[in-house]
Subunit: 443 residues, 2 copies
């Protein structure tokens, strides 16, 4: 068995196979230096909240080799798949040589890469995307070496918001541009506006509806960012313009791609070519609410893909049912989460829906530390079935999305949520949990 | 319509009826001085975390009278129900006179009272149970007046644990006795032991397996507590020995009582006598996992009872499906929650079950503030259906019980929980939420 990619999906699958099949030969090719790292932790590492980048690594290549007998070969990049003769061409990056390795079964777990459009000047020093652990270390080292004072972030999605917090923590002046009329495009504008307001109150210079035009540099280092409306000086630029699946290896093979260019897989994580599997950020998922294929690049999904692929690759038979589109993050002490379909997404479908948006408290109003929480809940008209939820609020807010995720997955209605025997005590919740307060407006 | 009892269940119902039927005559008799107060907030008020007892009151009698035209009569105790001629006998406590009031429909929402066994010396000053808001104010005033230094708490349940925290916060030396071999009888012993250990580490003198014998007093004030094993000095005693439903009014009527002496009701909250309803801590509930009648005295349930009774009392037709036995509390920064059936409860049934108990982290291990969390999850053997869950851990632990509550209510299996698209980001969770890590052990 050959695995391409040594992060969450690939190594989860390899580990699962090893446990089930102690004698199988497992080779993992990873083009970077690291395995099984927490890419999601990078903004917090850059902010200085994590002492050492090593802490982001769950398990190192030599541990996989020695403890699990998994032949992990770092700095080895697969550059070709021959799906007919069942072999992959591998480039040994250190030696700069290539060789072919044959496989009985192949798992593609190549992940995703940040989108880096071809803007003029984008090659200057000090302009970073965030993808592998190494890119996070690069940003960290650049900051330590050059002590930038003025950062520009392009893109107000998850990475953009988390990096805005990180760079603000490092006492930089931070400007964030987005071409959209809101931050966090996975949220509806009314909820995103709560986030934008809080970011501005916290000192972020925020410009929406602005298109990036080009970068300017001095002595090879970025010096300013030019949009269609202004020029903003910058000695550090973070690109948070989204990611795309690493599916280039399928070119010239019978392996098909599907949703957003991700590798097409069924619920067992099999690609369209027998014996070839795909998992993690490079592969499709099934959207449980949209009821169609989707593509979501997230660590949780990658781990689940890896587990399911690993079970199936070692004689099991299991399906990964799919995702709800859950996501969570925070900006300073404002917590943000979402799941299911947003109003914006629903407008594109024929589904008729009802919306409740409520303000409540994270704890009983009289209990110290009680903070504001806004919950938006969307149900199908008629059936009352919950279709989506969005939460913005202070400590204790965002993880409440899990109740909505579970309810959506179970096909529960708003009335079902009202009836739930959710936990209550003054340090944890008002007597009606805010999720239920929202649901009460829908019945 | 006459309502007996002006707290959560009674006033929720009255308010719901008022909205649906603007012209109906609604009379509420409340024997105390307060309406709609948060009894659960009392330990925190006593600890000094809440500035004013008024903050625990959601709505006052005059607001109900003036804004909602609900005739709330405080200091009026119903002492008799004549269910044949449809009238109640009421004692005006201030005037010390009685009168009869007729009703078309009657809602009994008399709540519950702390158990106060007839131990020798229990009448001494400084020995308190906690039930109504007034009892909380009494404790608060007693502490302010007498500055007790040494408190004994009898009973290690929710009230006992919350009061232990409160009195410790007030710099008292605190001893807690329980006749059971563990604190928190609704948890299994292995989980309760985690709590007991933390309480002891925090300075609580904890004695389990000890039976209370009597109290001694000096000049009318409690001076010591004597158990079957020791004498412990005390200048304040809190009784947390459980509560019982206030169902005495049903004596001599056709209103039947059921589980644990609570008023028997169907899922519409109708008692066994047409036109008479019961809701809140005095009434039964249906246990969704045990599949039988149960009795649970909790603010959340009381609010839901009140809402459902109110809808049905004003022409609606709705059922309250039931409870899972969810509860949540904390001792200092250790959070505690449970739902469904414990191992102990399951041993009494014929159901075969599997247990997983795992230790994980509340956040990604490398993220600041990540704390230990222990999750115990129980599933039915064969079907894998989740039957119960218990959580003990630090900040962010306990509210995760809501995911388990929702899963149990939906009839989900352990595999269903593993598959859930729960939220993950380093400040909120490890990549596998601890609830899912437990579920993985059950599949």
């Amino acid at each position: 068995m050959v695995v391409i990619g040594g992060d969450a999906a690939g190594m989860s699958a390899a580990s699962k196979v090893r446990r089930a099949q102690p004698d199988r030969e497992i080779v993992v090719f990873e083009r970077g230096k690291h395995t099984s790292y927490a890419a999601c932790g990078m903004p917090y590492f850059i902010a200085g909240l994590v002492d050492d980048s090593e802490q982001l690594i769950a398990r190192k290549p030599d541990v996989f080799r020695e403890k699990q007998n998994i032949n992990v070969r770092i700095r080895h990049e697969v550059i070709n798949i021959d799906d007919e003769s069942k072999k992959v061409e591998v480039r040994d990056i250190e030696k700069d040589s290539t060789f072919w390795e044959s496989y009985d079964e192949l798992l593609i777990a190549t992940g995703a890469s940040p989108i880096r459009p071809d803007f003029k000047g984008i090659g200057a020093d000090g302009i970073f995307g965030l993808s592998t652990l190494q890119t996070g270390i690069d940003v960290f080292e650049y900051i330590n070496k050059h002590s930038p004072k003025k950062a520009v972030i392009v893109g107000g999605g998850y990475i953009g918001i988390e990096m805005a917090e990180a760079l603000l923590d490092l006492d930089m002046k931070v400007t964030l541009f987005d071409m959209a009329p809101q931050v966090m495009l996975t949220m509806d504008k009314d909820m995103a506006d709560l986030i934008a307001e809080y970011m501005q109150d916290s000192g972020i210079e925020l410009y929406l509806n602005e298109k990036l035009d080009r970068f300017e540099s001095e002595n090879g280092k970025v010096s300013s960012v030019i949009t269609d409306q202004r020029e903003e000086s910058a000695d550090l630029v973070i690109l948070g313009m989204g990611v795309k699946p690493n599916a280039e290896l399928t070119n010239g093979t019978a392996i098909e791609t599907g949703a957003k260019g991700a590798i097409k897989v069924n619920k067992k994580l099999q690609s369209t070519v027998p014996g070839i599997w795909a998992a993690g950020d490079c592969a499709e998922s099934f959207h449980l609410v949209k009821n169609e294929k989707t593509w979501i690049a997230l660590g949780t999904v990658a781990n689940k893909h890896g587990l399911v692929a690993g079970i199936n690759l070692s004689g099991g038979d299991i399906e990964f049912p799919g995702v709800c589109g859950t996501a969570i993050t925070k900006f300073k002490d404002l917590e943000i989460s979402r799941t299911g379909l947003s109003e914006k997404e629903l407008e594109e479908t024929g589904i008729k829906y009802k919306i409740a948006k409520i303000e409540s408290r994270t704890r009983s109003g009289y209990y110290p530390g009680s903070g504001k929480i806004t919950v938006k809940l969307i149900s199908e008209e008629g059936s009352g079935k919950i279709l989506g939820g969005q939460i913005v609020g202070f400590a204790g807010s965002a993880k409440r999305i899990d109740t909505i995720v579970t309810a959506i997955t179970a096909g529960m209605s708003a009335q079902n949520i009202v009836d739930l025997d959710l936990s209550y005590a003054p340090p944890f919740s008002p007597v009606w949990d805010p999720v239920q307060t929202a649901a009460r407006r829908l019945v």
